[in-house]
């Protein structure tokens, strides 16, 4: 049982190859975060915001009513 409480032996992740993997792992995630931010900034942010007030949604779902109080 005492065996299982000892720290694990020197890890491959501390070796040269392991450190290189760690750098690649981190670089992928940073690259993706930057790419997603750029997509949001250039493709998503300029899009018009949908009007989702209840009255506007009613107009979207229903045929326009002639005497809707919210439309006055």
């Amino acid at each position: 049982m005492a065996e299982s409480h000892r720290p694990a032996e020197a890890s491959w992740f501390r070796s040269r190859g392991g450190r290189r993997f760690g750098v690649e792992f981190g670089a992928i995630i940073v690259f993706k975060l930057v790419a997603l931010a750029l997509i949001w900034f250039f493709c998503i942010r300029p899009l018009p915001h949908a009007d989702t007030r209840p009255a506007a949604v009613a107009d979207h779902l229903l045929a326009p009513a002639h005497e809707a109080p919210d439309d006055r």
Partner: protein, 527 residues
Amino acid sequence: MIDETVVTLSRLQFALTALYHFLFVPLTLGLSWMLAIMEAVYVMTGREVWKRMTQFWGVLFGINFAMGVATGVTMEFQFGTNWAYYSHYVGDIFGTPLAIEGLMAFFLEATFIGLFFFGWDRLSRVKHLVVTFLLALGTNLSALWILIANAWMQNPVGSRFNLDTMRMEVTDFGAVVFNPVAQSKFVHTVSAGYVLGAMFVLSISAWYLLKGRNIDFAKRSMTVAASFGLASALSVVVLGDESGYTVTEHQKMKLAAIEAMWETEPAPAAFTAFGLPDVAERTTHYAIHIPWLMGIIGTRSLDRVLPGIGELVGDAEQRIAGGMKAYAAMQRLRVDRNDAAARAEFEAHERDLGYALLLKRSLADPATASPDDIRAAAASTIPNVPVLFWAFRIMVGCGLWFIALFAYSFWLSARRELDRRRWYLKAALWSLPLPWLAIELGWIVAEYGRQPWAIEGVLPTALGVSSVSVAQVATSLAGFVLFYSALAVVDAVLMLKYARKGPDGLGMWPPATPEPVPDHSVVAARP
């Protein structure tokens, strides 16, 4: 009027991102448990090879995780950009499991993946094993909450339409969480992920054996993959049957389309093993039937009838007529919210409101619908029968192949003959893409089969789309395609690079100092 091009492009964009995202998710689901199993053996036996196996497969797991993480974020972008009315209409319900997934499961997963990679020298063996189990648990909990959200789209329980806010709102969160569709979908989906994880390890290990590299390492990996894969492949079939049964209960049209069951048949219905569905003629050419099978699978009885497409279209016509009454009552309530008769009329036909909204695809005002319009709207509730028919059968065929392959692998493993048959090793290697194919086809059956609904019986897909232009959707679609194509190339390059290097090329195995042979004499000497 609804711009069908915007609807089509928005659907295409969501489908592409979802299918792409789900290339990574199931491998994470499956590999995480395989890592936990391998590390548990390491902790129990102290054999270095199991630790190195955990670390090597952990590297490939890490690449997959890094490439896959956040690819689902773009779908959440789309809820706001392309599906704003959908988000408003059902966001009160749909958003909750998504938020819980982010707060609970994803943080758990993201925290422990760091400890998994960089905690080997800092944590005791047992603590590191706990980290690996928590990583697997977080991954699977993540899938649970996403599938609860998705299952609500298939079977919208625990909610009600609010006339004042013009959206669906939660009435019973417990019903949403314990939705029977969510439970069966979750276990079926994660089991499919486990099959993929097992196939991934089996195939790459088979390649090492074919190349004569890492023999001991590969054989042990294949042993774990064979047993885990066999259990998972059997689970997929059993739990897929349960998932199919919930479809019978809640999505009869989807089931009829999967079976190309054009008309109602006497119970118990036959299963069509092969055929060429003809939508125009509403018949299936060259059909090969297996008597009784569909009735037994679909209803678990010999006397319950499964309705055919023709009967279900007739039901839809009646529900459209009922929905038009609810729609007309809503119009009157919009003018006078205190109109008690209109409110009573609405509540009487509320469950059919979504069916009246199907008419909005071709008419500005459903109240003006003619009998021909109603018939056309009812006919639009039929999904694409040939696509569903074949997607389902290819998926099932793959599932049966997985059972056969893993059962044979298990048998060879028990006889210690995994490296003796080159044809088997080649079959294992070339089976690598099949779980991905089966999983993607499964999603196509689930989501394409739900059409024309975004929320089954509640909100037609076309009405969930935002008021955006074709150019705007096309621009964001192009952005996503470029982004995901770049990721796919990087992913393929990295996966191939590390898999080709293998444990020997990465300096993981064999160890610099030979592994001591465990002394079993103490155990053997015990009385």
